[in-house]
């Protein structure tokens, strides 16, 4: 059985201090996590402060049409003479909100399906995994476009459309983890003491799955923001809301390119990229620390070291690597 850093194999769920040290180890070992957290924190603060730090109103013209960046307008002006800096700040709010909310929806669905399928197994597992495989195979973005177009443009619709179609990788990963947890001693001990399935899941399975769920959540946020940007770019988000996606849409639709007004689309694009990079740095580091196999390298002499000889649960690690292949290409 693997001994990932964040989950002590037989530790009691309430072992908070052990988990904190593990977190400290992670931060020391991978400084990139700090960069990621700082970036993400920065954007969340910007989104929360929103109206307080916007220098101009986004409802009215504050300068020349496609005015270039200047001291007064740091990011220039868009096709309506609206300050791009203010619009980019405002975009952070809805983009992060949609990304976060859609992730929660998908986490809930994926987590429940993964735990139920992994814990109960049998025919339920087969049916749930068939459904998951189906949603994994079909091009989810196309289905998102279709549903969003039929449902009508709105921020809430976008949240649910993305959340309802993004849960597949979560379900797969969690299922694999739960399946191996189920066979561990502490679960059968709890069962022998007469604990119900519900209690075992909440008290014993969930705390062990939590780190993986968090790693997964952070990587899902990146995908959700990508999907949101795409749907908004296609004009399927709310028509009135300013998001990074709609800013890109306006730049494409409203001749920013023939004006050479690069400032009309560069700032929101960079913001999207920074948020995605932040999620990637945090999520990847968390995931790597949960999969100790990646630390072993038998080929490069410079990094010749075997940290821990972990007799891996073959199935779980296979799922991690398959999922790794699945997670990235989801980019839009």
């Amino acid at each position: 059985m693997s001994t990932p850093i964040l989950t002590q194999p037989e530790a009691s769920p309430a072992d908070v201090s052990g988990r904190l040290t593990a977190l400290k180890d992670l931060l020391r070992e991978r400084p990139s996590v700090i960069v990621g957290l700082a970036l993400l924190g920065f954007f969340i603060i910007v989104a929360l402060l929103g109206p307080l730090i916007e220098p101009y109103s986004t409802a009215q013209q504050s300068g020349a049409v496609y005015g270039p960046p200047s001291l007064k307008h740091w990011f220039g002006l868009d096709d309506g003479g609206i300050d791009m800096f203010s619009e980019t700040i405002q975009g952070a709010r809805i983009s992060l909100l949609v990304g976060g909310a859609a992730t929660l929806v998908s986490l809930l669905i994926g987590g429940v399906i993964g735990i139920v399928a992994g814990y109960f197994g049998g025919i339920l597992d087969i049916i749930l995994m068939r459904i998951t495989d189906f949603f994994l195979v079909i091009p989810s973005l196309v289905l998102m476009i279709l549903v969003a177009a039929l449902w009508g443009p709105s921020v809430v619709h976008v949240i649910f459309v993305i959340g309802l179609l993004l849960w597949t990788t979560t379900a797969r990963v969690i299922r694999a983890q739960v399946k191996s947890l189920r066979e561990r001693g502490f679960v059968s001990h709890a069962r022998a003491f007469g604990a119900t399935s519900g209690r075992i899941i909440v008290k014993h399975i969930l705390p062990h799955v939590a780190p993986l769920l968090i790693a997964n959540m952070i990587l899902t946020v990146a995908n959700a923001i990508f999907d949101e940007t795409t749907l908004d770019f296609l004009g399927l988000g709310s028509a009135s809301a300013v998001t990074w996606g709609t800013l890109l849409e306006h730049a494409n639709d409203r001749t920013a390119v023939s004006y050479g007004a690069w400032w009309a689309f560069v700032p929101p694009g960079i913001c999207i990229a920074l948020v995605i990079v932040a999620c990637y740095l945090i999520g990847q580091a968390l995931e790597d620390s949960l999969n100790p196999r990646l630390k072993v390298a038998h080929i490069s002499t410079r990094f010749w070291r075997i940290q821990q000889e972990a007799a891996e649960d073959q199935q779980a690690s296979e799922h991690v690597s398959r999922r790794r292949a699945r997670l990235l290409p989801q980019r839009k």
């Binding site: 495989d133 990079v277 390298a297 080929i299 490069s300 292949a325």
Partner: protein, 320 residues
């Protein structure tokens, strides 16, 4: 893979297509606010067309009958008539698909070769400056939205290269075959580059991590203990095994390639399946939306099936 495994995979693929068809039917016919109720929002519609379509699809019949009627029509290749240009949907979509396939194929091949090259290089020299540089570039490319890369290339290079459409109609009055092909190739440079940049980032990262995972295996340690050179180990032990996750990657990235293609085609107004779907969404052309979803989904499922078959051919452990 034995015949049984092949049959199992084929039946999953067919089952998936069937489920997609059913979802498609459900979305458009069963949910409230379907094609016919939103009639006022459809451009170029006439009451005659509406009646003709209603009769053609049997919209007055019960839902269950409609479902079988829909399946029957679909099997015969009838996806209905486009609201906007009043041509059969299937014909429209096949024309669009013909324009998309070269773009996607060329971009995928280039991005895969590049991704394999840099991915292997940085896995081999893990922790080196080269590894850090290559990984950083890949992460940034992976993180940038496709449409943003496209817009950026347009502003930078739009003056020197064709920026929209597939060919310049007015350059030659009667172009020869090769002049025409060359013209298309010139138009393809920018969209193709955008698509390559989009796909490349993820490819590199996955190939790198697939290889790193293999390098941690015990048989690599054994190979080293035998005194084999790093190059031999890499080429004949590590890479051969890394092929498996890489094939998985290819199978699973079709969905994202589709997404990237849609965005690229919109930015560069390439008349392919992506911009067709987009125009259908904009114009509320329901038969085209329905058909577009089906064509894209079926091709993705088909390629997934191919990759699955290939995967089990390559990996004797799952040959059953």
């Amino acid at each position: 893979m034995g015949m049984r495994g092949l049959l199992k995979r084929a039946s999953f693929a067919i089952g998936t297509i069937f489920a997609a068809v059913t979802i498609n039917f459900f979305l458009f016919r069963v949910l409230p606010g379907s094609a016919i109720t939103n009639w006022a929002r459809v451009p170029n519609s006439t009451p005659q067309l509406q009646h003709a379509l209603a009769a053609e699809f049997g919209l007055d019949k019960p839902k269950v009958d409609q479902y079988f009627l829909y399946l029957n029509q679909l099997v015969h290749g009838n996806m209905g008539v486009s609201f906007t240009n009043q041509q059969p949907v299937l014909g429209n979509l096949l024309t669009a698909l013909r324009n998309t396939i070269p773009l996607v194929t060329i971009a995928t091949v280039i991005a895969s070769i590049l991704g394999l090259w840099t991915g292997v290089l940085s896995a081999r020299r893990r922790g080196s400056l080269l590894d850090h540089a290559s990984t950083s570039v890949a992460v940034v490319l992976y993180a940038l939205p496709t449409q943003w890369i496209g817009l950026g290339l347009l502003v930078l290079l739009g003056r020197y290269l064709p920026s929209a459409g597939m060919s310049s109609v007015f350059t030659f009055t009667t172009p020869t075959f090769w002049q025409h092909q060359l013209d298309i190739a010139r138009h393809m440079i920018l969209p193709c580059t955008t698509l390559v940049l989009t796909i490349y980032g993820g490819n590199t990262l996955i190939i790198r991590s697939a290889l790193l995972e293999i390098i941690g295996e015990d048989f690599i340690l054994t190979a080293r203990a035998k005194g084999l050179s790093a190059r031999t180990i890499l080429n004949s032990h590590a890479l051969r095994n890394a092929v498996l996750p890489i094939v998985t990657l290819f199978a699973l990235s079709f969905g994202s390639i589709v997404a990237g293609t849609i965005l690229v085609e919109i930015v560069f107004t390439w008349p392919g399946i992506g911009s067709t779907l987009y125009n259908a969404v904009i114009g509320r052309d329901y038969p085209m939306m329905q058909g577009g979803f089906l064509v894209i989904t079926v091709s993705v499922i088909f390629f997934n099936f191919l990759a699955d078959v290939l995967y089990s051919r390559l990996d004797p452990r799952i040959r059953e």
